[in-house]
């Protein structure tokens, strides 16, 4: 290795001694420089042409994926917030509905109770009225029966009493009275 560098330096020194221009003095081989520039340009072109686009595309894709993910995350977050709001709203509505249902049920129960109460009162009054009517009818029937029985008893008693106590004199008096009444 040392020998290589020594040889190279000797060659360079020899070349410098032969062409003493600025490149030579600076140790630059312009031919080599041009070649290197060309190679560099080719490399840049190749990179531009085949490598960078791939990298850029991958980067862009990743960036777009990240953006999409971010967007999706934000959307999911918003959706979650919205869902929570909806859930809260639905819960509120459900509570309100439940409250309404309970209130309605209470009102209906109260109305039913009231109606049942009125119906039972009406039934009771009707039964009472019917009972009164029946009692009234029975009383009337009993009065009639008593009246008829009294008449029959009076008639029978009168028949018996007259049969035993009615005398010819009394009979004559009765007949006389009847004839006098008929004259009038």
């Amino acid at each position: 290795m040392n020998s290589f560098f020594t040889q190279f330096a000797a060659t360079e020194a020899h070349n410098a001694a032969e062409k003493p221009d600025i490149f030579t003095s600076l140790g630059i081989d312009w031919k080599l420089l041009v070649l290197q520039i060309v190679a560099f340009l080719i490399l840049v072109w190749l990179l531009n042409r085949y490598v960078y686009p791939v990298f850029l595309r991958i980067v862009d894709e990743r960036q777009s994926k990240i953006d999409e993910s971010l967007k999706a995350a934000r959307a999911a977050e918003k959706s979650a917030e919205s869902a929570q709001d909806k859930i809260d709203e639905q819960l509120d509505q459900a509570r309100l509905q439940a409250k309404d249902i309970v209130t309605t049920a209470k009102d209906e129960a109260s109305a039913m109770l009231s109606k049942a109460d009125e119906k039972s009162k009406a039934n009771a009054e009707h039964m009472l009225e019917t009972a009164r009517d029946e009692i009234g009818k029975e009383v009337i029937a009993a009065k009639k029966a008593l009246h008829n029985e009294t008449i029959e008893l009076v008639a029978q008693a009168t028949e018996k009493v007259i049969g035993k106590t009615h005398t010819a004199k009394a009979d004559a008096s009765v007949i006389s009275d009847a004839l006098k009444k008929a004259e009038k």
Partner: protein, 125 residues
């Protein structure tokens, strides 16, 4: 005789003859009713004759009492009926209990106690 005479005319004719003392009219009337095939009207004709006699002052009255009638009662009845000639057909019926039932062809006076008791019983409801 054809069946054209009314009951009223027959009764009037018979009543006049009976008042005159002609009892034969009864037989003639019976014969007429048989000939005219009006025997079904016999009761009605007799009743009409009684009515005709009553109009002429001859009253045939049926009297029902519980006891035998006294002369006083007979005179009271005669006075009540105001008849020129009165024939009383008396019946004693213990079932009437008391009082009197007087029937003429046109009027009925029921003043018996049984009738009053019946009226009382009719007041049953």
């Amino acid at each position: 005789m054809t069946g054209g005479l009314s009951r009223t005319k027959l009764a009037s004719y018979a009543a006049d003859r009976l008042i005159a003392g002609d009892q034969k009219v009864i037989e003639e009337l019976a014969a007429y009713l048989m000939t005219a095939r009006r025997t079904k009207e016999l009761d009605l004709v007799v009743r009409s004759i009684y009515e005709a006699l009553e109009k002429r002052g001859v009253v045939i009255a049926e009297v029902v009492t519980a006891e035998k009638m006294s002369d006083d009662l007979r005179s009271q009845i005669a006075k009540l009926l105001g008849a020129k000639q009165l024939e009383l057909r008396e019946h004693v019926d213990q079932n009437v209990l008391g009082g009197v039932k007087l029937s003429t062809p046109t009027k009925i006076l029921d003043a018996t106690l049984s009738h009053r008791l019946m009226q009382l019983r009719e007041r049953k409801i």
